[in-house]
Point group: C2
Chain length 414, copies 2
């Protein structure tokens, strides 16, 4: 099967299974100019599936970097009203969105972290009073899906011994494999089977209503993560507030839940490096006391981590804990992709930053104050980090204080 | 000299000589995703020359066509307020703009002209009451420059006997040649010399203050174009209302002036085909009576021409007449580029649609009503068409009704 045919399968899977685009719906695609032929396939698939209008918001990471280095800082901190009006106009039209991730972990390595931090903070400030924009996605008012396309710089980082062309080919092969697209299968049927399994897992976990999860491994992780009451494990398919099912990540392996923002205690060590504001942060750890980060460390790019944690108060609290068996297809590839959304599916992870309202039963109907009162963490940011290992053990404490083994040797017990 | 070095020369010429970007100024670049490496050179050159921020508005003609064919018509007719607010925000910041043309004359050939016409009409309607946005450029409130980059479809049309790669190479060679970029010259110095010559021509023509120009050739053109009083021929360099000189077209060979919108009579035949709304209109002609088109024809895509003329009342009147010697570098290439901005520099041309206020002395200080009272044509559109030929003769009638020979055998007499 030709590369082009696989891209077409991927596009159809994204639009139909991932997004479940509705007849006449507006679709936004956030894409890089480095993926023109592949984005065109998405647009084609979307119109074929009945989209009412497809708007592609193109960006270029290389021009973006030149701007980050050279432009007036005050210009980059501006957030004119029309930007918010634009987002609300699309949302009022009931838009769906495809976000294409293409990691570039070293892109910003030589850019002043303080400047990046100040600009990102200005963005976060500007969003205050405009939370409805972020909430459109956070509350699943419209369908959204994140997929990954490789770029040469990222490919060379994952496959440093290959030339650029080979590295790109291997990256595409890996992405097709993770997304369960093979020469002769029907990926849409494959994803139906796969998400049915995830849905079973989240059902079992939600029924347990664990008060807390105790996670330990040989990296040094020894942490108790308290969960909010009436939590709802999520994963695989989701449903918009209008009742449209969709799968927000392709690929996805995880089931995830909401930590209580005052009930995490102990130390967690990252099991993979992480790209923050374009810089690769390595061998990092957090120490929590009553839900808040009280200490942290990193062997490289400590400042990026520090700037991130200082974005707002919520950036120092957990917003998510996700469980993935160590024996997952992505994990079995045995690679570090330097991409949160792929790597997170290879391993158990947590996130500092904002939580997802749908991780509380009927949470999308609650106000921000009501969510906070339940222990939800609120932040302008959300950053996943991996902590799963081959020897991860996780014990759940149920409503009767009984210990239930959840993970043994990195994998689900049930 | 490598292709890359020539592109760098072109970028520097565009930013410094064409745009004359000012320290700290905001620059907008309207570009296609088909020109990523070349646009990056422009962004680099702009920051090097001191731009405060560079924003690239990327578009893709292929996705654009899919949308034009498939999207809901009502969605495409929308013009939400934020679009106008966005333009005004950039203009309030004193932006300059680079517009990259990349012709695609056959792109829309199989798309319903009526639908395109209705959508374009809705755009023109939406601009009513928002004329200040268009006037920012029309009145030269900020610098702007239009340059051309080839694309494979356009290249194959100009060089049908070459394969795509050869055709693209030849197109770039032609564009470098037209823009006076050679292996070992200093194109910035070259352009200084060239524009000095154009400036001399427009000074002489402006001093004559011709009442009308009588144009005749063997194609059948026999037309009298009345000019407005106190007109000012323009061409080569212009100056913004803030006093910044710039060159709005690279390449440019023309000097041009403002016809009176009630004083054109006779018939004019196009000497080259023209792309309108993505369709190639061939062998067309207009007949004017007292300034308005009373009859017209075309051998191909008559409907596109008709739709265009129906955009608004001003689309049926002349807004520009431009004189270019038949012995110009572009003309000497002897090719049809199917691109108004290149082809117009190979030959005398006129435009139906809006006129340029600066073609009246102090015209940029006049209101729209004052301009109309002087005979300026006002329209949402402006479409150049070529009428110059090797045997073009043009006679100017001066203030004392004396005949002055301006063009003989296609070339300037003085």
């Amino acid at each position: 099967m030709s590369f082009e045919s696989k891209i077409e399968k991927f596009a159809e899977l994204t639009v139909k299974t991932g997004l479940n685009i509705q007849k006449g719906q507006l679709l936004l695609i956030n894409a890089s100019v480095e993926h023109v032929p592949h984005v065109r396939k998405l647009v084609e698939a979307a119109y074929k599936a009945g989209a009412g209008e497809v708007i592609v918001n193109w960006g270029d990471p290389i021009c973006g970097k030149m701007t980050m280095v050279n432009a007036d800082e005050e210009a980059l901190k501006r957030h004119p009203q029309w930007e918010f009006d634009k987002a609300r106009d699309y949302q009022k039209r009931g838009c769906a969105a495809i976000n294409i991730l293409s990691s570039d972990p070293k892109l910003m390595e030589d850019v002043d972290s303080d400047r990046i931090g100040r600009i990102e903070k200005a963005h976060a400030e500007a969003m205050k009073g405009n939370e409805d924009i972020k909430n459109y996605t956070a509350k699943n008012e419209g369908q959204w899906v994140i997929i990954s396309f490789p770029n040469p710089r990222w490919a060379k980082m994952v496959f440093p011994d290959c030339n650029e062309e080979e590295a790109m080919k291997k990256m595409w092969d890996d992405i097709f494999y993770m997304c369960r697209i093979t020469d002769d299968n029907d990926p849409i049927a494959e994803w139906k089977k796969h998400t049915d399994k995830i849905i079973e897992h989240k059902k079992v976990l939600t029924e347990y209503q664990f008060k807390e999860l105790r996670c330990k491994n040989s990296l040094g992780t020894d942490i108790v993560v308290g969960l909010v009451e009436n939590h709802a494990w999520a994963g695989g398919a989701m449903t918009t507030t209008k009742g449209v099912p969709f799968i927000p990540n392709l690929p996805t392996e995880e089931v995830f839940c909401m930590p209580h923002n005052k009930k995490t205690n102990g130390k967690v060590f990252a099991s993979k490096p992480l790209c923050i504001s374009g810089k690769l942060v390595k061998d990092f750890w957090f120490e929590f006391k009553d839900g808040v980060v009280v200490d942290f460390g990193a062997s490289e790019n400590y400042d990026s981590l520090k700037n991130f944690l200082n974005t707002d108060e919520g950036a120092k609290h957990l917003g998510e804990i996700a469980l993935i068996s160590y024996d997952s297809p992505i994990s079995n590839l045995g690679r570090i992709f330097y991409n949160g959304l792929i790597d997170e599916n290879a391993s158990c992870h947590m996130a500092v930053g904002t939580s997802f309202p749908y991780n509380i039963k009927n949470g999308t109907e609650l106000s921000e104050d009501e969510l906070k009162a339940r222990g939800s963490n609120i932040s302008m940011v959300h950053l996943d980090f991996m902590f799963g290992t081959r020897d991860m053990s996780i014990i759940g404490i149920d409503q009767n204080d009984k210990e239930v083994e959840v993970f043994r040797n990195g994998n689900f017990v049930f």
